[in-house]
Amino acid sequence: MAVGKFPIEYSHIMMFARSVGDANNIYYDQDYAASTEPGGVIAPPTFVQASAQFDPDYFLRPKIGQEWFGSAKGPTGITPKPKSDAEKSGEKKESGSGGGLHAEQHYVYHRHPKVGDVLNATTKSGKTWEKQGRRGGNLVFSESITEYRDQNGELVVTATGVGVRTERPATSA
């Protein structure tokens, strides 16, 4: 994820808090928030995930004018492509889902983002490792580390995500 500008905005925080069922008034009432220890509306602990909204290339958001893999008239909006020779012979399989699954997420808070901050995010790859899955096949884990910095270049949140994909052993049919 590379995000140039992630503005921390009150209404986005309010809607995010609603979506996780968090009734804490610090996310809904700016006057109340001013009376709390943080002194204003701050982001809930997992809010920086919503920086995806400001990533122009984020692949899990429909793009204007492009086909989307979710259902439309049929169960997927993607027009089937003619199969390649490799697909017909079974050497290459199409993946059934929109990518791997989320295995882990870790946050370190250097401070908590507050309304008015404009963060930027840069992501680098971390470790990768493999594990034998319970149903056979290899599980491939890969780590990505995102640093959220504020308008002064100060580190605000470090986010480490781990994704997992299944990879069938080369010997299986």
């Binding site: 996780v20 701050i42 995930q49 909204q53 899990l60």
Partner: protein
């Protein structure tokens, strides 16, 4: 509101029900706010017919977000220093989740008092869906 180091003991537990009978609409709300519109979470037709799951399921990050509200309710606003989880089981519509923090240490770090917490969220069958830990600043 903040926790006090001298009132905390290893083994102390704080527990909250963070959702009862999770609705597909709440998952849609989370897709809308987080920006993760993967149809696996909101589109029953795609998910059952194409991806071959029994049903749409919650974003792992929604479960983490709901677990996070238990933590901020316990330790206070702006007090978390770290929070990390592994997603150990999928959460489907209808789930009722209980999130729990257990004190594992009260210590000094960089001149501040902090509490270390084990974090665990279980569903109505007792299956753990999120497992992790957190550290928060205390008074």
């Amino acid at each position: 509101m903040a926790l006090k180091a001298n009132e905390l003991n290893v083994g102390d537990v704080h527990e909250e029900e963070v959702v009862r009978n999770l609705t597909r609409t709440q998952i849609v709300q989370y897709a809308g706010t987080s920006g993760d519109y993967n149809p696996l979470h909101t589109d029953e037709i795609y998910t059952t017919e194409i991806a071959k799951y029994p049903s749409v399921f919650a974003h792992g990050m929604l479960t983490m977000g709901m677990t996070g509200k238990m933590l901020t309710n316990y330790v206070g606003d702006g007090r978390l220093k770290s929070f990390g989880v592994r997603f150990t089981s999928q959460v489907f519509p209808g789930a009722t989740l209980t999130a729990r923090a257990t004190v594992t240490a009260v210590r000094d770090e960089d001149g501040e008092k902090v509490v270390d917490l084990d974090v665990s969220t279980i569903d109505e069958d007792g299956t753990e869906v999120v497992k992790g830990n957190a550290t928060a600043r205390v008074d």
